[in-house]
Symmetry: C2
Subunit: 369 residues, 2 copies
């Protein structure tokens, strides 16, 4: 099912938060001066089968949120690839507990998002869907996109990588040719066919590559050999080469690697940045891990202060989640924001990829247009 | 000389920046669409003689800045206690090099402040005077005070400490009585009379104390004894107990101290936060060290992510510098923002101390009223 964008945005949400039910005295001042959170499950249809080391799928469940305040609406999204443990059910259950009507002022991001975070452990994507909608709302109230509020130059937004899925050499060559727009290609490694895939891509293009191993390598000496080979093949960084639990092995590898090693599974939230220092040379920040834009901004700030590289990543997401992440993109070294390019039923328009580069709109909030 | 506030704010600045002289083509679009920096030396008259371990003085040189853009003006300040090496001459020489007309958009804080920082090494207070005026301008363009832009709750602003100067026990008792409004008193230690001063204060009040040693202790074992005695006397943290060069001794002390140890002289800018981790349990952030609000915000964010405490401090400053720092105060553990209370010729009104608490105004920018 593919919803027309206007139909979707204009429709009455089918599920409403505690905001509609609670009876706190603060409500007395009338609905137009209080925030109201609503949300709606949605299913992203992928253009191509998405293959990871352990699974394949053709859809991704998301929940789309709205925060209404006066005559403004902020839009948000939770994207929940099934292997990360969140789902339509878990996210709607979490969001049903969120009562934003208890807060008078949407600008109190610190207090509001602390309250949301403390409602239950986990649920990072569901929490992000509130954070993103709130940033969209507050940015609209200020009349500014967040990259401007944060003082950033949109021209410094990096090129985004585009992922070439795992497949036969012939199909990999075909996909690589189709991705000629992109200035950085990403390949998933960690299987027997790693070298074969790299060679297939290199038979078509000399564009820089990055590689995501998803914890797939188990022997650090073999991993170091592979890193040296990958550097020769023009790979510029590698994500999460070994299991996140093996901090000492990942640190050993980082110390010796000829290219930066980026922690992904090992780095979820702000508290993980400190632990990643000395273990990885960079971190992969994703809104759906970090609980949203506010904590992601703090993670990037902290990582840079610790001398670490930053990759800004995503899940398969609509242009809502991608545009929110893109607000941060002028701060980072590399971006992996191809999520909205992989789906066929994106109900939003916002930040775009133009000639491989993350391109921000001037629209306020998260920049949906 | 004491200038009336309106007189000062309305007067034509006597010194103008490179903006007035340069001839870049960008100027062609007319003065109203370009930023123009002007600045004026000013001398703060202290209410009381200010005594440090090595000097006494009755004035502090500052430079007051303005950035005009269209019909808006942002206000800033450089405060330059002489022992830190900046002066009217050094600051006006630095500010004369700053050409903001090369930037079209005041919101490009990252680019503009990087340009200012790279004009010359050092000059942190002069750089801060540009940063503060730019934040004031951009906040006014957004119609918001920065604490709101940063998502902070002004109710979380801490009590500020008030410094009891070094003096005879009788005078210390008298000063302590006069400071009854304050919920945290600060005392400068590092002399033979340390215990005498603490006892004099304690003969008058049981209010919590903090102590600034300004690198005055030379023997770590004696310092630890003193810290234990100070804890018994209700001292809640100590600043810079030993020389900043003795990182190992300061770390030894921090590990064993019964109260937090805050690095001040050891922590100037963002790059120092990482080095302070493991050496101190907290850092003292001051706009005149950090080069302004933007880097101070990053320092606080990073320190908190590293599990460190944060003290927000100041020099003797007008309400301009204090109001700028106060925007950050809801983020920190302790504030030492009594600088404007110590002068008799403050040309500004902004953040105030009410019943000992930092109290923010809702005025946009840095909150001058």
């Amino acid at each position: 099912m593919s919803l027309d964008r206007r139909q979707f945005l204009g429709s009455v949400p089918v599920v409403s938060g505690a905001a509609l039910l609670a009876t706190s005295p603060a409500r007395a001042s009338g609905p137009s001066t209080r925030m109201k959170l609503t949300f709606r499950p949605y299913t992203l249809e992928l253009k191509h089968v998405f293959t990871l080391a352990t699974s394949s799928r053709t859809t991704t469940p998301v929940v789309l949120t709205q925060i209404a305040y006066g005559d403004r609406i902020g839009y948000g999204e939770a994207s929940m690839p099934p292997y990360l443990g969140e789902s339509h059910d878990s996210a709607t259950a979490f969001l049903s507990k969120v009562d934003l009507a208890r807060f008078e002022d949407p600008f109190r991001l610190e207090d509001i998002l602390r309250y949301v975070d403390e409602l239950a452990p986990g649920n990072p994507a569901a929490k992000a869907s509130v954070d993103i909608a709130l940033h969209d709302l507050v940015g609209k109230l200020m009349g500014q996109p967040w990259f401007r509020v944060w003082g950033l130059d949109p021209g410094r937004a990096p090129y985004t990588s585009f992922t070439i899925g795992i497949d036969t050499p012939d199909v990999v060559r075909e996909k690589t040719r189709e991705a000629a727009e992109f200035k950085l290609l990403k390949v998933k490694l960690g299987r027997d066919t790693d070298k074969e895939i790299i060679e297939a891509i290199r038979s078509v293009t000399n564009v820089p590559l990055c590689a995501d191993v998803n914890q797939g390598w188990k022997d650090r000496a073999q991993a170091l050999d592979m890193l040296q080979w990958l550097k020769e093949k023009g790979v510029v960084f590698v994500e999460q080469p070994m299991p996140k639990e093996l901090a000492a092995d990942n640190a050993w590898l980082t110390e010796r690697s000829p290219i930066p090693i980026v922690g992904d599974e090992a780095v979820q939230r702000l508290a993980d940045v400190r632990k990643a220092s000395g273990v990885y040379s960079g971190i992969n920040v994703k809104l759906m891990k970090s609980t949203g834009m506010r904590e992601a901004h703090a993670m990037i700030t902290t990582a840079k202060a610790l001398g670490m590289k930053v990759l800004l990543g995503c899940m398969t997401e609509t242009s809502c989640g991608i545009s929110a992440a893109a607000q941060l993109s002028p701060m980072v070294d590399w971006a992996d924001l191809d999520g909205a390019l992989l789906i066929r039923n994106d109900p939003f328009q916002g930040a775009r990829v133009v000639d491989g580069k993350v391109t921000l709109s001037d629209a306020p909030g998260i920049g949906l247009t």
